[in-house]
Amino acid sequence: MSDYLLSTLIWLPIAGGVVLLAMGDDNDAASARANAMRWVALAVSVLTFIFSIGLYTGFDTTTAAMQFVERAPWVDAIDVWYYLGVDGLSAPLIILTTFITPLVVIAGWDVIRTRPAQYFAAFLILEGLMNGVFSALDGLLFYVFWEAMLVPMFLIIGVWGGARRVYATLKFFLYTFLGSVLMLVAFIYLYRVTGSFDLFGWMDAPLGLGAQKLIFIAFLLAFAVKVPMWPVHTWLPDAHVEAPTGGSVILAAIMLKMGGYGFVRLSLPIVPDGSNYFAGMMIALSLIAVVYIGFVALMQKDMKKLIAYSSIAHMGFVTLGFFIVWHMAGGSGAVLGVQGGMVQMVSHGLISGAMFLCVGVLYDRVHSRQIADYGGVANTMPVFAAFMVLFSMANAGLPGTSGFVGEFMVIVASFKANPWFAFFAATTLILGAAYTLWMVKRVIYGEVANENVAALQDLNRREFIVLGILAIAVLLVGLWPAPLVDMMNVTIEHLVEQAGQTKF
């Protein structure tokens, strides 16, 4: 089994999705057949998660080498391989993906009334493709998964989205596609230089500074859009607002991580000198994201937009952590920065997913995302209010929750690089608390605002399970991050070493 574990994690959910599509949709969402399809979707996603635990239990934390490697020729003519493997950077993200997907399936259980089978199929296929991105070690394979991933997400927002879903979908697609195409150009150049699509061949290939700069920019456009970094972030709030709850959760929890993952998997090791050259700019953009977007988030009237902007600010920490590497003399500080960025990615996956689910719970009842339409929700939904406050605190970076760990590591590392970096990064502690808690205050606390709020029913069992599992995960990573950090440690030390070596 473990010989083909990664393939299983990719193809099992995709096969499940295809089965669901083949079963076809039942227009009566309450029928026995529609119900059976939900159970199939849940079973496949839970099974995938159970398999992915094998990645953790079988993971060797003492080596930076790729593990669970699978290698088979795919297109001989241009030396493309079906080449999979994971290290400490990708394994946690795969587990995050397989962990979030069942929750999304449960969250959509009886909320999705139109074409439920296609909805769940889209998520399962998306899960497989995302696992593919995280485990691909062949450039072209990576690119195929990377682009294929857009299709299910395009459908999820475009079919099950809100009123302006077509606008949001096109914006999402054009933005991300434009960036990715330039990445393909860089891949083709690297193929021409090295004669293969092997990522490790690209890492070892000598490249001049000029070429490295151009490749870095091409990568940057692909990854910066995904992260998203300022100023190519404006697709995200629109996409989130229009996406169904499950789409928002996957978008925030996993798809944004693709950008961060791209930087550490491709940019840093393949073009270290190019990355070094642009590190100052990357740090500046990251800090702009933290400060500028923090202020913008403060003024949002739509809860989903607020959380979307907060995601951009939090992802600024990820890129900050990755690119301060060149501002220190290597060693533990640089490792801490990258580690902080990685922990922040996992933590943000849990917290932003939970926050979007919370908004989804309210939206399912009141059909509004506007902060002004709520107030005093704690009076009618005390259990929900407790969860929402917990996740909000985590979003604001409260110690004891996962939100604190990554941010703190990055702030400490950036202080070593330059106290001014830490100064601007630390504004998130104020701004994050301000925009999150102000929203909580207006939505959760106070007098019951209107009859919609007065008529609210507290969480049902299904919602309680989903939020409860996420709450446990948020607290677990917050109180005991050691297993996660241990998993990444050796890989990150190796990465920092690679990033510090010049290639020409």
Binding site: T234, Y292, F295, V296, Q300, A434
Partner: protein, 198 residues
């Protein structure tokens, strides 16, 4: 405080008072007996490590002579007497001579307001930092995100492509004579360049 509120005020019932007393006595005793081991003794063992030369507590410990000495020493410090002065002032102004605060207020309006508004710190935070934070947020959102990035950069690019195409498409009229005429002009210019400028 109005009469209604005042009528609700009364001493705590014994179910509250008794536990408070029972908590107060041990807290005094515990403080008395544990202050030394906790602050200067080995209560925490190796759990807390302090950098040599920066051990502030140890320096303080050199002047430590036990809780009784601390208790007696407190009477000699200005801090203690300032606290007592605060108590006395409050008692004098609000119990002994309740007419005085109003008189003080009339005489020293500015000072009264300064104290009443807590040195205006709340105003600084609410009208200053919070209001400015919201203004900056609105500016960056409306002007930065919506106007500049989405309006000028993203839609602006799309619009200028559209406008350029709107102009360029007039060249493609579809009439044969337009194209023929353009070819003749081009040919004339090319021949002219060949003859006179080569």
């Amino acid at each position: 405080m109005d009469r209604e509120t005042r009528s609700h005020l009364h001493e705590t019932p014994w179910v509250v008072t008794l536990p408070l007393v029972m908590l107060a006595i041990p807290s005094l005793l515990i403080g008395w007996f544990t202050v030394e081991p906790v602050l200067f003794g080995g209560f925490f063992g190796d759990s807390i490590v302090v950098d040599q030369g920066r051990d502030v507590l140890a320096r303080m410990g050199e002047h430590w002579h036990g809780p009784m000495a601390l208790f007696l020493h407190a009477w000699q410090t200005p801090v203690f007497w300032l606290a007592i002065a605060g108590l006395v002032t409050a008692w004098f102004l609000y119990l002994k001579r309740p007419d005085l605060p109003a008189a003080v207020r009339e005489k020293a309006d500015g000072l009264y307001n300064l104290l009443d508004r807590k040195y205006y710190f709340d105003d600084l935070y609410i009208k200053g930092f919070a209001a400015w934070g919201r203004n900056i947020g609105t500016f960056l959102w409306k002007r930065g995100d919506q106007f500049f990035i989405d309006g000028v950069l993203v839609n602006g690019t799309a619009n200028s492509v559209g406008k350029l195409a709107g102009v360029m498409r007039h060249l493609q009229s579809g009439y044969l004579y337009t194209y023929a005429f353009a070819m003749i002009i081009g040919l004339t210019m090319f021949l002219g360049w060949l003859i006179w400028f080569r």
